[in-house]
Amino acid sequence: MSPLGRYFHPLSPAGLWLGAAFLAVLLLLPVWGGSYVMTVATTVFYLALIGQSWNLMLGFAGLLSIGHALFVGIGAYTAAYLFAAVGLPPIVGVLPAIALAVLMGVLIGYLGFRFAIGGVYFALLTIAFAEFVRIIVDHVSWLGATEGFFLKVSSADRHGIDLVNLRGAPEMYYYLIMALALGALVLCRFLLRSRLGYYWQAIRDDAEAAEALGVNVLRYKMYAVIISSGMAGVAGVFYAFYQNSLFPEIVFNIERSIEATLGSIVGGVGTLFGPIFGTFILTPLGEIVTEAIDLLKHWGVIDPQIKLDGLKLLIWSFIVVLIVLFKPKGLWPWVCSRLRLTRPEAEG
């Protein structure tokens, strides 16, 4: 089998064609999509990257994190600060960004696993650390504290392609995050088929049995946290240079951490394509809701004075409740079997 064929092995011919068509549409998106569509699509891939990072921990290794904004935020602040303070270009700055995010992951992981803090309590530990770091950054003046940290950007920066300094046209950011998200997909698939993937799933399903079969549970849980936090750190670097402004109240907000989980929950925790699939449903849906409300206001159906800021979150929550109630394994496995996108007995 060709190397490419091996990557898509679980997809059926129908799944392959549909996937290829989907990919073609996305690759050609900048040709027909306006700036708004591009922004939404960029956000989708950005969240898909974080979602995959989160899914690697819970879906593959059974470790629940509700503090993933922490790893993203540390990556973002590290690369942004090094760029602003010493002019380190983000293509290099991504390395210390990953290193610090991983260091944080190792710290949380070690505390959690060494002292056998499992399940929900581990999740609480991740929340605690995310809040802890948020409060610290709130008080560090050289990181802008609550006032925010800004990267200089001129109108000349908005054209062309400068991947070294992550400056360029919206299309560059779009293709970059698309490449990163798809790269993460290939990485996850590779990991899932490796020794790591087997051991992680064994630990997820029954840690005691895994240990009896010779798996060093602490070490392999640690690998999951390291790879996951590193991936989230990369997403953070992208975020910093895409947004050019970082506020601790936004970056480290628990809402960001929850956002990281939603795509995977809707798509299917533990599946390969679930996080991407879920984000492709949720994010556009959120936008459609916002647009629909604006339209209704415009037509005078709804009083334009009414503020409906939380409605998007409300609808997202409602969808998550429906998914958990009726399709607890997520939509991807269900869609797969309905449309016969994957071959039987191969998991998505």
Partner: protein, 241 residues
Amino acid sequence: MAALLRVEGVSKSFRGLLALNDVSFDVAERGIAALIGPNGAGKTTLFNVIAGVFQPDSGSVQLSGAEITGRRPDEICHAGIGRTFQIVKPFAQMTVLENVTVAALHSAGAVAAARAAARGFLEMLELDTKAAQHAANLTLPDRKRLEVARALATGPRLLLLDEVMAGLRPSETDRMVATLRGLRDETGLTILLIEHVMRAVMALSEHITVLHHGEKISEGAPERIVRDPAVLECYLGDQDR
């Protein structure tokens, strides 16, 4: 014959309740030994001490003369002891083949080699037709077989089997007995089993250790054990009263 496993003066108590009291016994290299006793005798606790799940309060466990007392379960697996769980612990969301592959990865260098090795163990335990099923969908006897296949796939020198015959039909028990004896004869595997199915114990074991209330009350050849008054008394009660 030299002892592969030596358990020496092992005691273990849980919150003051003495589960094992100064238990000592040897398992001969290439031998098949059984550990029997009424419910609550401490058999599974002893397995867990040998496999590293529990630390003994006192005493020691040696494998081929090397001290393994108090080591972690994964280290003991590496030392050469494979074990099954009485309350089966399949990796429910993984397929049967993947379950055994996890274990085979222990000695295999690459995933492909481990999968190939795993298929061999599935055939041995008559699970090959169910390789692609999720372990969650297996029947209890099949889960017991999966436990054995996984433990074997780690390539152990000593196999600890905790009630793997329970729930099997007599004909299936006979096949499992034949499989285990064949393994011992071909590969030189040493087996220590906890079993209530006397049909299997009598057919397989060359040496039996009897536990009662955490203490060893008898040991020896099967023919002797079934006539030992102390053993009969612990199972059936005092005949004279």
